[in-house]
Amino acid sequence: MRKQRGLSLFVGAVFAFLFIPLVIITITAFGENSTIQFPITGFTFKWFTAVFENQSFIDSFLLSLEISLLATLLALVVGIPAAYALTRNGVKGKDWIKSFFLSPTIIPGVVVGYSLFQFIVIRLQVPLFHGLLLGHFLISLPYIIRVVGSSLEQLDFSIEEVAWTLGSTKFKAFTSIVLPNISSSIFASFMLAFINSFNNIPVSQFLSGPGISTLPTTLMNYIEYNYDPVVSALSVLLMLGTIILMFLIEKTLGLAKVV
């Protein structure tokens, strides 16, 4: 192979474009000045302490965890059986039903958030927390259907039929034969849906109110009125969280399988 120096330089520049902004955030988290400056003067960890002393960040982080975990678990409980049914023959209008299950990805997030807010929260007077949970469930479901569905399609169903022939009930065969075989894709879809839900803004933005605000929403509102290194410090912490999650996925499945 000939040297591709031009291409390497180009790709280097693209990765510089992708990383320099994040590197700058990281550096500004350690500056002593009370507004963000780059290059920084001095070196301090005080902004990290400030993140943990900010009650609204802590509260909204806990709410985000709760919403994303519950929504993703609900999506798994509803989505895995649905994905299973959609790979079986004999379901009429299978393609149509599948597109329906994937449709939350086609509807823009702001529209999902807006219509849930208007219909569920305003008209039906459902508590905001439940509206938020439902919104996050809707955006998580397609990940489960897609990732679990594609791994079910590759599964050899004759092993399940063998279990039936040997006298196992359908439910038993499903839990003891099918589920273990797709466990890694279940984990992958869970992680993807969780990260997506945790990071979501458009849906959460509509479904927030007093005491109900996810971490990204809180951070976004904070940024609109403040320009201090606390934001940088929180960003660094969240990026560390992303790195840990990526590391976990890599160790259990390999990142390549998830994308």
């Binding site: 591709q4 291409l7 390497s8 180009f10 790709v11 693209v14 990765f15 474009f17 992708l18 902004p21 994040l22 700058i24 955030i25 500004t28 963000i36 780059f38 059986p81 049914a85 004999g90 379901v91 039903i97 329906f100 299950f101 939350p104 086609i106 823009p108 997030g109 702001v110 529209v111 807006y114 219509s115 807010f117 208007q118 219909f119 008209r123 439902l134 469930f137 809707l138 479901l141 359908k170 990260i195 803004i201 458009p202 509509f206 990204p216 951070l219 976004m220 940024i223 609109e224 934001v231 960003s235 969240l238 990026m239 992303t242 999650l245 990526m246 390999g254 990142l255 390549a256 994308v259």
Partner: protein, 277 residues
């Protein structure tokens, strides 16, 4: 009995989607068509207002520019990544994935640091003496564009690497053996084979930019509304639910049209390839 099982286990998801996606959507959209009698007046009057049309056109324009630049930046990058050893490929994919999994608020905030009046770019340019007064980079259409490219370039690269990995490198070698320069071989061989992947990735970038909320909100300011921020403003600040619902349907229709249209083209190209082979 057993034939009913698939339908039974599909039912919970189906019902939840109907109640919490379909019905809310219809209940929001329906009044824009029916108000005592059936009419599309909400839409015609929306498009008669030049301010609204300006926002619609800006949204389309920004999405097109972002998609175009992402292709320019993403195609060579994906080609490079697909051609590296598996170990490098894994590493570079992880490096591409990391910004994608980082919260969009953080990624937009990064550009506030860079583009602001006292931001990194203005400081750098004035310290080398290129500019004497800070440039207005933030809260412009330019900042939305650059923030959106930053947001969606990774997803295009990842989609394309998946496609380009499957292109047989021997085809490229054959073209070069037959005398094509490296760039020419790339343009004549790799690029045409990647077009379905480029289209799939472009759909993601285009619809992503079209519907993104965080970036235009944080980087665009009030003067550079996009459909998503305009919807939010109408619904939550102005209390104008009619316009908000009109914008909602416009966004859905534009997204669906772009998706279906481009995917149709991608499928055609795919089929043509099969016939040739």
């Amino acid at each position: 009995m057993s034939k009913k099982i698939p339908y039974l286990i599909l039912a919970p998801g189906f019902i939840l989607l109907i109640f919490f996606l379909l019905i809310p959507l219809v209940s929001v959209i329906w009044p824009t068509f029916y108000n005592g009698s059936f009419s599309i007046e909400s839409y015609t009057s929306f498009f008669q207002d030049s301010y609204n049309v300006g926002i619609f056109i800006r949204t389309i324009r920004v999405s097109l520019i972002v998609t175009f630049i992402c292709i320019i930046l993403g195609v060579p990058t994906a080609y490079f990544i697909a051609g590296t050893s598996p170990k490098w490929r894994g590493l570079l994919m992880a490096f591409t994935l990391f910004p994608m999994l980082t919260n969009s608020v953080i990624r937009s905030f990064a550009w506030i640091n860079l583009l602001g009046q006292n931001g990194v770019i203005n400081k750098l340019l004035s310290s080398i003496g290129i500019i004497s007064e800070p440039l207005t980079l933030l809260y412009t259409e330019f900042s939305i564009i650059i923030g959106s490219i930053y947001l969606f370039l990774p997803i295009l690269i990842i989609t394309l690497v998946g496609v380009m990995e499957n292109i047989n490198p021997e085809i490229m070698e054959a073209a070069e053996t037959l005398g094509a320069s490296r760039i020419k071989a790339f343009i004549k061989v790799v690029l045409p084979l990647s077009i379905p992947g480029i289209i799939v990735g472009s759909v993601l970038v285009f619809t992503g930019t079209l519907t993104a909320y965080t970036t235009p909100q944080l980087l665009g300011g009030n003067r550079n509304m996009m459909l998503s921020t305009f919807l939010y403003q109408n619904a939550m600040t102005l209390g104008n639910w009619e316009d908000a619902s009109v914008i909602a349907l416009i966004m859905i229709i534009t997204t669906v049209l772009v998706m279906k249209g481009l995917n149709l083209i991608a499928n055609r190209i795919d089929k043509r390839g099969e016939k040739d082979a």
